[in-house]
Symmetry: none
Subunit: 196 residues, 4 copies
Amino acid sequence: MPRSMREQMILEVAGRAFAEAGYERASMDRIAQLAEISKPMLYAYFGSKEGLYVAYIERTGADLVARLVRADRPHAPHSVRLRALTAEFFCFVAEHRDGWTVLFMEMNASRPLAEQVAHLRERIVTEIRRMLEEGSESWAGLAPPASDGVAHAIVGAGDSLANWWLKHPDVGRDEVAEWYAGLAQAAITSAVSAHR
Amino acid sequence: MPRSMREQMILEVAGRAFAEAGYERASMDRIAQLAEISKPMLYAYFGSKEGLYVAYIERTGADLVARLVRADRPHAPHSVRLRALTAEFFCFVAEHRDGWTVLFMEMNASRPLAEQVAHLRERIVTEIRRMLEEGSESWAGLAPPASDGVAHAIVGAGDSLANWWLKHPDVGRDEVAEWYAGLAQAAITSAVSAHR
Amino acid sequence: MPRSMREQMILEVAGRAFAEAGYERASMDRIAQLAEISKPMLYAYFGSKEGLYVAYIERTGADLVARLVRADRPHAPHSVRLRALTAEFFCFVAEHRDGWTVLFMEMNASRPLAEQVAHLRERIVTEIRRMLEEGSESWAGLAPPASDGVAHAIVGAGDSLANWWLKHPDVGRDEVAEWYAGLAQAAITSAVSAHR
Amino acid sequence: MPRSMREQMILEVAGRAFAEAGYERASMDRIAQLAEISKPMLYAYFGSKEGLYVAYIERTGADLVARLVRADRPHAPHSVRLRALTAEFFCFVAEHRDGWTVLFMEMNASRPLAEQVAHLRERIVTEIRRMLEEGSESWAGLAPPASDGVAHAIVGAGDSLANWWLKHPDVGRDEVAEWYAGLAQAAITSAVSAHR
DNA sequence: GATGAATGAGTTTTCATTCAT
DNA sequence: TATGAATGAAAACTCATTCAT
């Protein structure tokens, strides 16, 4: 089996383990066992437990970003962009439950590795912030730090809703996305008008 | 030193340790050292690491709930209630940084202990949900599961904003609370009108 | 409460704990709790865990020996002596289950304290040995080391039978004693005649 | 070094430690040190202290039983069987001092693990009981519970004699075995005739 | 005489990590 | 490339024992 394929399989399995048990409680022994590989191989491929974790987070984060970038319509009206991005985000969550769970847990954990993920989140927050700041539409015009704080709040609402959704799989994706898009838009409008 | 006082001091120190390092990485050895006490005392007081953690979470959660209950005005218009609760919430976060951090981390961790905190959060979510459902005001009238999902999103926005604020201490509390109250109210209004 | 009475009560409780859990697994904490006394008192009275244990074993052993001595008829024919001692022994076991259990466990444990009990057992063995050696009756006349080994075997049969009896309380004491007396006498007779 | 060999070496060393100090006082630290191995290996091989202990007892017990079975002559007259089994038993004790000590200590300890060994002993007791009950020979014909109690007494005599012998190594094995066979046979005869 | 509070030293156990082959 | 065998370091937890009052 070629190396790159092995790597992908290992990452998949590791993701499951991390999502289920969290970073500290997921043991290399168990991951090796699930991956049907010997422990020294794990280390040969990823160097350390942290290395494996970072690799998983990087792959997952890159995937999420790539999808958002692909779905993005930078020149469309903000409301359209927001809907497109929202839809894509919930698609991602639905298709990568483990990945999303790990990303989210890491975001809120107080661990040295948090930076990776914080950085990823910041990219998304920044995008929202731009919408709040850049004056190209009727509801833009906020300034830092308000734009930053509100953007974080909006993103946090999405995280929370995504997690809620994972526990309520009978609710349709489009419905959830619609709720979120509505909330985000209303929040933005309100923030901007309050600012004026 | 009398027992009950020691207990409080230990909880304080343990909270710091848990907030800094997370549950798994915080060691009993270190907590004992920080508390200037021997390990057996930790166990005499709290039985186990989990016991200590639960005790801390319970104390902190009870404190948060008590404050929210005290600040609540159940018969005031929803918008007034929202502002009152929001203000109190950010007060709590400001005064109990560690407590809030631990509560929040626990909320999102995949650990057996999460139930305690999930329960606490659910109480808050439920309150928001009621506002969304009970038809006593112009902007009420949502039904489950939308009311549940949206309530989680709104609470998540608050969590996220609180965390952001902890890293931006130069921003005034009233300002942040105002942002959040505006967001929450706009989100509610929008959700309800979309529903109609 | 006068000191000597306290001591007796503590010994009683300690005996129960030792019989139930064995020396190592019986904890001073638990003994103090059962005795409704504080731990420092335990230490004031008996100095150490070992001290407490030794005190219990000494009291129990002294009691057993005293009873055997009182019941003994040194000038009666051997078969009569044997029956008298046997009866008394099973009486003791019946009345001091814990005491007997502890004595017996200690006998066979490889612990520094074993000497006390070994010494006690040796006194009993010696008595049997004398019967085997002293030529005053038809079935006497064995010499060391045979007399020693056989005496140990005979005593061991009694220990074992006593333990069996503790688990079969519906069997009458006289019956058990009779079995044992028969066995011992037959064993002696056979040993002596083989020797000739 | 291959796994199975290591396992045997560890068991050997562990047996020595258990025989010397008893289960509770024998520490894994020390066993690892004696075995010239690291503690994690102990756990890799046997799972836990109890696992190691059970493994040792199982191996030793299986060995003893196998030897008795091999030496047994079920169709020979009882007296011949008794002599054969007795001889084999003392052989075993001579060759496995530690094993016998541990088995014997465990038999009489009040510890959760005692069942394993109790079961083993019961197999031997049962064999003696059968000799007492099955009427195929002149000295058979006893009924429960007497047959059970007497069988325990006879086995106990053997245990005790074996332990005595371990402390008197200058006495010949055949001699000791002869004492015991004589005692057992006399005991059986006497019990049966008393019963009639 | 009596005790609540305290601890040093030890226990079993687990984990990420690395040789030797 | 691949792995069975191995370990240093540290974790949670317990216990006999003793102050200070």
